[in-house]
């Protein structure tokens, strides 16, 4: 850009009149170069008449017109433009017609514990209502069985379960490995490192297996459910289903929940075995024979541990799937809404899992399980 063509400004004070004389190009770049100084001068001249001298302005575009109007507004009174060409005059007229006062600034959101509590309660109530709707859809399933497409269930089971196996194996193996190694070091000081096998096996089967499987499910599948259904909502596909008299709950939510219920136990068992393999690797590395590790695990772990873990995992999976589907069905308008739904599905899925896990901990303790 030719620097000579840039806008410049001179300020003249003549009694009660302030004159701002501009020269050069009043385009986006030119206006930008003198904007602050000009606004300051206009604000300073509020008690005086303001003359805006455009004799030496070579060109002015819409950015320049916006600048001149902003100058007038900053002055507060009516500014008088002199020396403007007919084209600048026409441009100013058009800009004045298009000009709208800026909307009143929205006050920044303040931390309001009461509003947050109300919003949280409302969200929880909506979540419970959604579960109620899902249960109702399941009850009405015999009369709507055509709406439940078995092919869709297999597709979601493949997406949520089969394709997650490599990740499940990797995560399970690494968690077993890390857990065994981290516990073996301090326990060795007490000569109790053989019990690492018991510790890791119990922790995996009762707690970590279902919990990790649910977290993986939430990150991989809950978000995918929310994004898929959210995109369908944005593309009016959910409306299309409704106007066909087809229940979105039965067509979209139930198949996903059934698929997750089918694959979740398998995912947990795979993760448990991968974790035990990781733990065994560490124990063998520390010099324990595999048979010893196996006997330690068998002597401590009961079928109740495995079944309890599987039951918990099933509930976690259903919660994650429900949260993902609900986030999808609540998607707003526009592509950004789909991203927000996916985020809500992951966060909500993990929170619901941890919340349920806490409840199970209390219930299992009271039942001596």
């Amino acid at each position: 850009m030719d620097s000579a063509a840039k806008a410049s400004m001179d300020i003249y004070q003549d009694g009660v009149t302030a004159r701002l004389a501009f020269a050069g190009k009043l385009d986006a770049e030119g206006a930008g170069a003198v904007w602050r100084e000009a606004m300051h001068a206009a604000a300073h001249a509020r008690m005086h008449e303001l003359l805006v001298d455009l004799h030496h302005v070579s060109t002015c575009d819409m950015a320049g017109a916006a600048f001149l109007l902003a100058l007038e507004a900053e002055h507060g009174g009516v500014a008088r433009f002199i020396g403007e060409s007919s084209s600048i005059d026409a441009l100013l007229d058009r800009a004045r017609k298009a000009h709208r006062p800026p909307p009143a600034p929205v006050p920044p959101a303040r931390f309001d514990p009461m509003a947050m509590a109300v919003a949280g309660t409302k969200a929880a109530a909506e979540g419970i209502a959604f579960i109620g709707e899902a249960v109702l859809a399941a009850i009405h399933l015999p009369s709507r069985r055509r709406m439940l497409r078995v092919r869709d269930i297999w597709r979601y089971a493949d997406q949520a379960g089969v394709r997650a196996i490599p990740l499940i194996v990797l995560m399970g193996y690494l968690i077993g490995l890390i857990l065994a190694f981290q516990s073996a070091v301090p326990m060795r000081r007490f000569g109790a490192d053989i019990y690492v096998a018991n510790l890791v096996a119990i922790a995996l089967l009762r707690e970590l297996g279902p919990l990790l499987a649910a977290v993986i499910l939430s990150g991989r599948t809950g978000s995918a459910f929310a994004a898929e259904i959210g995109t369908m909502k944005v593309n009016e596909e959910v409306d299309a289903l409704t106007t066909m008299g087809l229940d979105p709950m039965t067509m979209l939510v139930l198949p996903r929940m059934i698929a997750v219920a089918l694959v979740m136990p398998a995912m947990i068992i795979i993760l448990d075995f991968a974790g035990l393999a990781g733990m065994t690797t560490v124990m063998v590395g520390f010099g324990f024979p595999m048979e010893t590790v196996s006997i330690q695990v068998k002597s401590w772990v009961t079928a109740g541990d495995l079944i309890g873990g599987l039951f918990k995992g099933l509930c976690f999976g259903l919660a994650v799937a429900a949260v993902g589907c609900r986030a999808g069905l609540n998607t707003g308008v526009g592509p950004r809404a789909v991203g927000l739904s996916a985020t809500a599905a992951v966060v909500g899925g993990i929170v619901a899992t941890i919340f349920l896990d806490g409840m199970f901990a209390v219930v299992f303790y009271r039942l001596n399980l």
Partner: protein, 262 residues
């Protein structure tokens, strides 16, 4: 206009197929429209027109039961779909209507054929091969006979709209709602869609409610229309669009038909 009654409702008693009375819609404090009343006769092509943001698509959503109006009542084929009894009538009413959404709203995980087959599979006891045959025929009617195996992502906007019409008429409903069928299409494709609507009305005797602001389409297909206006928050004109174009003295109606800036 005389049309075949073969596929229209059995309740062919001269009663309007749609009756909207004093319908209004508000979102919070914002009134979109109020006191909207009109009737749609069986077998006519009825157009809801108006400028952008006047509530055309919102009105369509009210007519197909996707949203409940904040005031007024709507009857489809003599059955009220609003108010306390509306929810009970809605499933029956939905079986008698077909809706084409602005984007086509085809299910992305299904081929065009599967999209059109879906209502047939859900509501009829036809064997799968019969459903396929009917779906192929419907797609053929809208000129997509060669595209049955394509996925929605593989077709153009105009094809998606035509496939949306094929799906909407899969069960031969007596009442079809089309939301902006020609928006965003080139003039030739748009004219083709207009021709298709008139042919289907002629061949199937269906009633069409079309939401659009495409002037050429309105003049080509509409028997009657209502015009909504954002400023008036309601209907500002009713009647034959050609008559409105030639005789209306209402400034917004004149500006709309003469393509003048307001």
């Amino acid at each position: 206009m005389s049309v075949s009654a073969a596929n229209t409702s059995s309740r062919d008693t001269g009663e309007p197929i749609i009756r909207a009375t004093g319908v209004g819609q508000r979102f919070g404090d914002r009134t979109i429209f109020h006191d909207v009343s009109f009737e749609v006769a069986r077998g006519e092509v009825f157009v809801i027109l108006g400028g952008s943001g006047c509530g055309k698509s919102t009105l369509l959503k009210l007519l197909v039961g996707l949203r409940a109006p904040t005031e007024g009542s709507i009857e489809i084929d003599g059955q009220e779909i609003t108010g306390p009894e509306g929810e009970a009538h809605l499933p029956t009413v939905l079986r008698q209507i077909g809706v084409m959404f602005q984007s086509g709203a085809l299910f992305g995980s299904m081929t065009l054929l599967e999209n059109v087959m879906l209502p047939l599979e859900m509501y009829t006891d036809l064997p799968p091969e019969a459903c396929q045959e009917i779906a192929r025929m419907k797609l053929g009617l809208v000129g997509l006979g060669e595209a049955t195996g394509l996925m929605p992502a593989e077709i153009s906007g105009g094809m998606a709209k035509r496939a949306g019409i094929a799906r909407a008429m899969a069960l031969d409903p007596p009442l079809l709602f089309l939301d902006e069928p020609s928006a965003g299409l080139d003039p030739i494709t748009s004219a083709g869609l207009d021709r298709l609507i008139l042919d289907l009305r002629q061949d199937l005797g269906a009633t069409f409610v079309v939401v659009t602001h495409e002037l050429a389409s309105i003049l080509a297909i509409a028997d009657r229309c209502i015009m909504l206006d954002k400023t008036a928050q309601g209907i500002i004109a009713t009647g034959d669009p050609r008559v409105l174009r030639d005789t209306s003295t209402q400034p917004t109606v004149r500006a709309f038909f003469r393509r003048e800036a307001a």
